[in-house]
């Protein structure tokens, strides 16, 4: 699973960097298209015209999507998903999130698996850039080449496994893989989209894109990016799908949460997508005009991440005992009860990954102090005079680290600290600045217990990145692996590898569920809350407004309208 940064303001989450998959919305005339993701109401006859203003919590550093500077979720939501053509959309089918080809493609790509994996993308004849030039297989090839050979590329995962792309037919991109890649549907749509080779070939791509660009293969064009103030999108008149009904969309940067709510209340912005902080939940609970959509069916999972190689969590019994010492439902209720979200997550996979998940894997770990006693004493621990567990003269002292300045996480820490103390674990809080936490502490393993969220950016579980032993950061790999928990369970590795590489969905699903069960049995970490997404929008906005856990809420703005 790729990490994603959702906000960098002081109270924001810092989740690592990744890019969000995006897609154009569907075209009613094109049966091969997607429907633009999850919506709360079907597309209605919305009126034409009007200028929509939306509050944006964060301004991106740059918008060269494959570069390391473009890890901002907001950047992707505002400008990536609205302008870059994508191969696949994540859509909700009867409660399950699946990939569907967008109107960029002429139907589902052809997949050949023998003797090697070959995917043939048939590009729609109607697909053109805003300058009228057709979107071609050369654009696919250029994108792949830039990702795999360019400098300062954020992530080459799966792209690096492509052996070649045949672009001899402009409307057929034949992608040959070096080895099986199960997550191929996330390519050219999951994180980066497709880049215009006719404009960028031979140019400095980063210089051309970093501060905004004029090309588009989506329903919108970036008209202006007034740094620090706003981003303005105008309709792409050459879009071969549904041309936007609105005259313009402006994203105004309002980085302070209180000010953001005031701006929404006062009508200065007509929609906001705030982070699920405590003050946000309180404000929503206190009542706010307009419409709201909050869902726990997200690509997010916030968990207590245990360093399996560090005392006292280097013992399975202690990890299990720690899990039994917590009332996780109580923690979630304290955080999100106001949104009627009261149940803890029971898997280290986010909710939208239910297909590959044993959704009840951790359900057995409920508050049970008797079990804590049995497990700890069985492992050779005794309680000392202070009421804390002790073994061989060492007390169960645990330093609990999260990102400093995040009020929701700090509240979580306090609740967990209290519950753990009652069970005999002595927790001290030692928060750090996000850059240090994610950049040094976690990769170097200088922690015992951490609290942060994983945010999915594709519909592929990619748990192998997090839990396969080969991905444990070591000096040998320059501490580049993502298995920060130092999980080393031999029977899990092949299962997670199967999830990553098998092209048989049933086999992937079975392997994922089996892996989940083993991870839960060993309590490699403890899932906590699904980190809900919260969307608020005024009654003036008409159309299929809703959230998409991969694409965000603005991917189908071209179908929206304004009442006035």
């Amino acid at each position: 699973m790729r990490l994603k940064r959702r906000g960098t303001k002081l109270l924001a989450l810092f989740l690592g960097l990744s890019l969000v998959a995006a897609a154009c919305g569907s075209d009613d005339k094109n049966a091969g298209g997607t429907d633009g993701g999850d919506t709360t109401e079907p597309a209605a006859d919305v009126p034409e015209g009007g200028d929509l203003v939306i509050g944006a919590e964060q301004e991106p550093d740059c918008v060269d999507w494959i570069s390391s500077c473009a890890g901002s979720s907001w950047g992707s939501w505002m400008m990536g998903h609205t302008t870059m053509p994508r191969a696949f959309d994540a859509v909700n089918e009867d409660g399950t999130w699946v990939y569907e080809p967008t109107i960029l493609l002429d139907g589902e790509p052809e997949l050949v698996t023998d003797p090697q994996q070959v995917v043939t993308y048939a590009i729609s004849e109607e697909a053109v850039w805003n300058d009228g030039e057709p979107i071609t297989s050369s654009d696919f090839k250029y994108t792949w080449e830039q990702i795999t050979t360019g400098e300062d590329i954020y992530d080459t995962t799966n792209y690096a496994d492509i052996a070649s792309i045949d672009d001899s037919d402009p409307k057929l991109a034949v992608v040959t893989f070096e080895k099986p890649v199960a997550g191929w549907k996330g390519l050219f749509g999951a994180d980066y989209g497709v880049f215009p080779s006719h404009l960028l070939e031979g140019e400095d791509r980063n210089a051309a894109m970093a501060n905004g660009y004029e090309f588009s293969g989506g329903p919108w064009v970036i008209d202006a990016w007034n740094k620090g103030v706003e981003v303005v999108l105008l309709p792409n008149e050459n879009y071969w799908g549904d041309v936007p009904k609105l005259d313009s969309v402006t994203f105004r940067f309002v980085t302070d949460t209180a000010a953001e709510f005031q701006a929404y209340k006062g009508g200065e912005v007509e929609a906001i997508y705030p982070q699920p902080q405590i003050d946000v939940v309180e404000a929503v609970n206190a009542g706010i005009d307009g419409n709201s959509n909050f869902t726990a069916d997200t690509g997010n999972i916030e968990a207590l991440w245990l360093n399996n190689a560090k005392f006292p969590f280097d013992s399975v019994a202690v990890r299990q005992a720690f899990a039994y010492s917590l009332d996780r439902d109580g923690v979630v209720e304290a955080l999100f009860g106001g949104l009627d979200i009261k149940k803890a997550s029971q898997s280290l996979n986010p909710p939208i990954m239910s297909k590959y998940t044993d959704v009840d894997a951790f359900s057995g770990y409920t508050l049970d102090l008797d079990k804590v006693d049995v497990l700890m004493t069985g492992d050779g621990w005794t309680k000392n005079g202070d009421g804390f567990w002790e073994k061989d003269g060492q007390q169960a002292d645990i330093a609990f680290i999260t990102t400093a300045g995040n009020a929701r996480r700090e509240l979580t820490q306090q609740v967990v600290q209290e519950q753990a103390a009652e069970a005999g674990f002595n927790i001290t809080i030692a928060n750090q600045e996000a850059g240090t936490f994610f950049g040094e502490t976690l990769p170097n393993g200088d922690y015992q217990l951490g609290l942060y969220a994983q945010v999915l950016t594709t519909l592929d579980p990619s748990l192998c990145n997090l839990f396969c032993s080969v991905n444990i950061p070591t000096e040998a790999n320059g501490f580049a692996g993502q298995n920060w928990q130092r999980v080393n369970i031999p029977e899990v590795d092949p299962l997670l590898e199967t999830v990553n590489s098998s092209l048989d969905e049933d086999e992937r699903s079975a392997a994922g569920k089996a892996a989940d069960a083993i991870l839960a049995e060993n309590v490699v970490s403890i899932p906590l809350d699904p980190l809900p997404n919260i969307l608020l929008w005024s009654d003036n906005i008409l159309g299929p407004v809703g959230d998409n856990p991969i694409l965000g809420p603005f991917h189908n703005m071209h179908l929206w309208g304004l009442a006035r």
Binding site: D152, T156, N211, V229, V232, T255, Q262, G439
Partner: protein
């Protein structure tokens, strides 16, 4: 006077250089600008960025390189956005300057009026009221006042007067896709200027009152009154004019400090000024931006301190600067 000015400027240069070096060293030692890249899958990116930013060189060498480029007008690139720091600073500075200018104008007018009135009507009920309000204004946190101001002057007034939208705006300095200095600009200025002015008015009005009381008890004022000079002339021509001298110097010093950015005000009202630029750069260890911020702020602090001294000498002929 010129010799004095020249000497003061000469002394200021090493002060600014020392401050810039200390900031450079502290930021480099505290923040790792490559930390945000550790989740990037490109294994070479940290090495490249380290090379590009010269992070392997000793701090004095890095500082020397930065200083050399800065002196030639190259303020460098933001480590975060790769944007030209000159452009970033110019943009942020202009936004902050607008807030400062209007804030100072409004604050000066109100503070002087209150200070003069309070002094002339010493120990009256309005004097006591202004005194209490001044202390309240000084004690009030700007972030609290700003949010209250939005609630009262935007939402409550909308309700009281049955307006279709709030009479004032509070996001940025213009409505979306607007520019220029028109009614829309004024509507956006009211609340941030009010927030900025509250504490300043509280402080300056006290100072003006005190200065006015000193002046009004002077011999020459008594003489003017004895000569039959009209009361209004005594107060405004002789009293206020002389009482303004110390206030002007205080104002000059305070204005210089404001150029560091109005972090709270800019944050609440989403104005991309020097304060926001500073905070973002500090959190990311973006040393080129921080240094540019420091130099700009230091220059203005020094300049306005100098201005305060010069004004004092100009306004009071008894004082000679040497």
């Amino acid at each position: 006077m010129l010799v004095y000015l020249f000497r003061r400027i000469l002394i200021s240069i090493p002060v600014v250089l020392l401050a810039s070096f200390l900031l450079f060293a502290f930021v480099r030692e505290t923040f790792d600008p490559t930390a945000r890249l550790r989740n990037v899958r490109d294994p070479e990116v940290i090495a490249r960025e380290t090379e590009r930013l010269g992070l392997n060189d000793p701090i004095p060498v890095q500082y020397g390189k930065w200083l050399g480029e800065f002196a030639q007008g190259d303020w460098g690139e933001s480590a975060r956005t790769r944007e030209d720091v000159t452009d970033m600073t110019r943009r942020a500075f202009w936004n902050t300057l607008q807030l400062i200018f209007w804030g100072i104008v409004v604050s000066a007018l109100i503070a002087v009026s209150i200070g003069v009135y309070s002094a002339v009507r010493q120990y009256s009920i309005p004097d006591y009221a202004f005194t209490g309000l001044s202390y309240l204004a000084i004690a009030m946190p700007p972030f609290w006042f700003g949010l209250i101001a939005i609630n009262v002057f935007a939402f409550k007034t909308q309700g009281w007067f049955g307006l279709s939208e709030p009479p004032v705006s509070f996001v940025g300095l213009h409505s979306s896709r607007q520019s220029g200095y028109d009614l829309d600009y004024l509507k956006h200025l009211i609340l941030p200027v009010m927030t900025l002015s509250v504490q300043i008015v509280g402080s300056w009005s006290r100072f003006q009152r005190s200065a006015m009381l000193d002046v009004m008890s002077a011999d020459y004022i008594r003489t003017a009154r004895a000569k039959g000079v009209p009361r209004r002339t005594v107060i405004f021509k002789h009293g206020v004019r002389n009482a303004l001298i110390p206030l002007v110097t205080v104002m000059a010093v305070d204005i210089g400090l404001l150029f560091g950015g109005l972090i709270i005000t800019e944050s609440i009202f989403s104005v991309p000024g020097m304060g926001r630029m500073f905070i973002q750069a500090l959190l990311q260890g973006d040393v080129a931006v921080l240094e540019a911020w420091l130099i700009v702020v230091a220059v203005f602090v020094v300049a306005f301190n100098l201005l305060a001294d010069v004004l004092y000498g100009l306004l009071d002929p008894r004082i000679r600067l040497t």
